[in-house]
């Protein structure tokens, strides 16, 4: 028995693409008028899981926590990953959870999936909340070693080990690509630049086969969908939602306009003299470099 089981946690997020996103006049997001979709980083995580499907014939499961509408995100992730199991954790008590309480819900759900998960994937961070905490926190609750910014991976199914390439970037240093080997299970959060490469003919054939299958499955996604409320999930109500969240949002304010750091000279682009002046200034700024 060398069946590989992989899971992906995903999120329904505001759709930041033109035509779907709406901003208030003051530059903040207009949530009411903005459509929702599968988060872009979640989609990349689903792609990473699909790689395990194509290459290792893995069984893929996808989970999310959210309102009933979040099932559309599960459907979209299924189309990308050919998942056979879709989990939605949906209960009013889950609402308002911070990352610690969200991780508790997701951990409990992943443990309820068919088969023990060998790899769990998450996206890099959500486009709206942007904390990037839910992945690593779910990993720690599961007791799985966590690896972030994963660029690619190869599994040794016989030995139950994984080789991972990941990106480390720190301000003031060059980026580093680190290659790590670890025993399964692991939790991987996938870097935005992750790309699956299918090199052999047989992999490309499997890729096409499973892609077709994924499309058919996602058209009938309800067959694969399981919805859990608090009771069905069997999670401690004091550890989820608002009661289980250590942090609260105390205040939201517009960032006050700071003191002007520079005094701008305003130039009118319809005035050729002003354009000449702009270029003269630009040349001056650049030639100052030569003297320095």
């Amino acid at each position: 028995m060398n069946q590989l089981n992989v899971a992906v946690i995903i999120k329904l997020e505001p759709d930041f693409s033109e035509g779907n996103v709406s901003y208030n006049p003051d530059g903040t997001l207009n949530r009411a008028d903005t459509k929702n979709t599968l988060g872009p980083h979640s989609a990349i995580a689903a792609n990473a899981a699909f790689y395990a499907k194509v290459k290792y014939d893995a069984k893929v499961s996808v989970a999310t926590m959210g309102p009933p509408i979040a099932e559309t995100a599960l459907q979209m992730a299924q189309k990308l990953s050919d998942a056979e199991e879709l989990h939605l954790y949906s209960d009013r008590i889950f609402a308002g959870a911070d990352t610690l309480a969200t991780a508790e819900t997701l951990k409990t759900g992943i443990q309820k999936m068919q088969g023990k998960m060998d790899i769990v994937f998450s996206g890099h961070r959500a486009s709206d909340g942007e904390t990037g905490q839910t992945g690593p926190q779910t990993a720690w609750k599961l007791g799985y070693p966590f690896f972030g910014n994963v660029l690619n991976y190869e599994v040794n199914v016989q030995n139950k080990t994984i080789r991972i390439k990941r990106l480390v970037s720190l301000q003031g240093f060059n980026d580093v690509i680190e290659e790590v080997e670890a025993p399964l299970p692991v939790f991987l959060s996938v870097d935005p630049s992750y790309k699956s490469l299918f090199n052999t003919v047989s992999q490309r054939i499997s890729y096409e086969k499973y892609q077709k299958q994924a499309k058919i499955r996602s058209e009938n996604y309800k067959q694969y969908l399981m919805v859990f409320n608090l009771q069905q999930l069997g999670v401690d109500p004091t550890l989820v939602g608002l009661p289980g969240s250590p942090t609260i949002v105390f205040r939201v304010e517009r960032i006050p306009k700071g003191k002007a750091n520079r005094q701008a000279e305003v130039l009118d682009s319809s005035n050729p003299e002003h354009i000449r002046k702009a270029i003269a200034k630009i040349n001056e700024a650049l030639s100052a470099m030569v003297i320095k």
């Binding site: 996103v21 942007e130 070693p145 003191k259």
Partner: protein, 392 residues
């Protein structure tokens, strides 16, 4: 003297190849200033404690003390040479909960010590993940990507936290994080549940801090501090995680290469593809690297795949969520000037903004403001530039 369960600010230090990342000294500086005020206000004597993990790292303690640490707790082990999240998380949590260490830090106040009061991490690809896992291990809350911190007593009524009754939370860390738009500030608090039905203590109050935001203190070689060694326990299972290689890569986007950087934001919206081509032309004229604002990295516009994968990427983001730059010339086109962007470009020598809206915040951050739409302005600039001979 009060005997409290939670004391001190613990700052988790990050090393890359044995060297200190700048954010470490910035965190220590902020911790020092906060705690000096705290000790004065509350008549206490709490400490700034640096946690240092690595291999052959003891000598770094001196720099940490010079920059504001009262204590350096260091764990030295070959397996700690590079950051393996699992191992680091466990060792940091061991140190944070260690009563012997707390006793060495403050012998008279350690009797009831459980965990640190506050804890700081760097908001980068090490600290973001490490803070997340450590705080699960310490069973408390975390705010990420903070750029302002204050400590105050807060009166609060909350459905769950206080069972709907007003409660004063003393010595609360107010953690400010700018949202993705850069226009909103959200203050996050990490608070004990004082509701009798779900009573729970949540400490340390923790955050990850955006690099480049806080000032380090002026290093003082006479500052006194103590260095304490900690012998970590590393699980056998975790020793199976091996770093096979580490390769330094130069990003394709190299902001240090050029004297000039030109960035674009959502102002490309009317003709995204055409405008990006114009920006490329201008960049060629100026020998400039091209940057973007954070919203652009979310690929908000439909453009060809080659343009999208070249430009609408996190690697090009300038600001607190991306790179901090200081070129001789910075050209911001179609960028409104959200704070998180300004933080990344404000050290530029000369700044030109191209924008149709004179009320955009970028006007306060530039030396010349060319009023107009980029599709009109850039061709004129290029034409004029060709006329005047460049001295680049």
């Amino acid at each position: 003297m009060t005997e409290e369960n939670y004391q001190h600010i613990y700052v988790v230090i990050e090393l890359e190849e044995g060297k200190l990342a700048p954010v470490n000294l910035e965190m220590l500086g902020k911790a020092r200033r906060l705690l000096d005020n705290f000790n004065k206000k509350y008549k206490s004597d709490e400490k700034v404690v640096a946690i240092l993990l690595g291999y052959n790292v003891k000598q770094i303690s001196k720099t940490l003390i010079e920059h504001g640490a009262d204590f350096v707790i260091y764990a030295d082990h070959p397996k700690l040479k590079d950051v393996i999240n699992t191992i680091y998380t466990k060792v940091i949590a061991q140190i944070a909960k260690d009563k012997e260490i707390a006793t060495k830090i403050s012998p008279e106040n350690a009797k009831n010590f459980k965990k640190p009061r506050y804890m700081f991490f760097g908001a980068d690809s090490i600290g973001r993940h490490l803070s997340s896992t450590v705080l699960v291990e310490l069973e408390s809350g975390l705010a990420s990507d903070i750029n302002k911190l204050e400590i105050s007593d807060i009166k609060l009524t909350h459905q769950y936290k206080t069972d709907g009754k007003p409660v004063i939370y003393e010595k609360t860390l107010e953690m400010y994080r700018p949202d993705f738009s850069g226009f909103l500030w959200t203050t996050i608090l990490c608070l004990d549940n004082k509701n009798p039905s779900i009573e729970r203590e949540y400490h340390p109050q923790s955050c990850s801090i955006i690099p480049g935001v806080f000032e380090p203190i002026k290093p003082d070689s006479k500052r006194k501090g103590e260095v304490i060694q900690f012998s970590p326990t590393i699980d056998e299972q975790d020793l199976k995680i091996k770093i096979l290689s580490r390769k330094i890569i130069k990003s394709e986007v190299d902001f240090d290469r050029c004297k000039a950087i030109i960035s674009f934001g959502r102002g490309i919206k009317d003709f995204p593809e055409k405008n990006i081509k114009l920006i490329e032309d201008l960049a060629k004229q100026l020998d400039a690297e091209i940057g973007v604002s954070l919203p652009i990295s979310k690929k908000p516009f439909a453009v060809s795949e080659s343009i999208s994968s070249k430009y609408m990427i996190p690697d090009r983001v300038i600001g607190t969520s991306g790179k901090k730059i200081s070129p001789m010339l910075y050209v911001a086109t179609g960028i409104s000037g959200a704070m998180q962007h300004v933080e990344g470009m404000k050290d530029s020598e000369f700044v030109v903004a191209i924008n149709p809206d004179e009320n955009s915040p970028i006007k306060d951050e530039c030396d010349i403001f060319i009023k107009g739409r980029m599709e009109d302005v850039i061709p004129k600039l290029i034409e004029e530039m060709k006329k005047q001979s460049l001295v680049v």
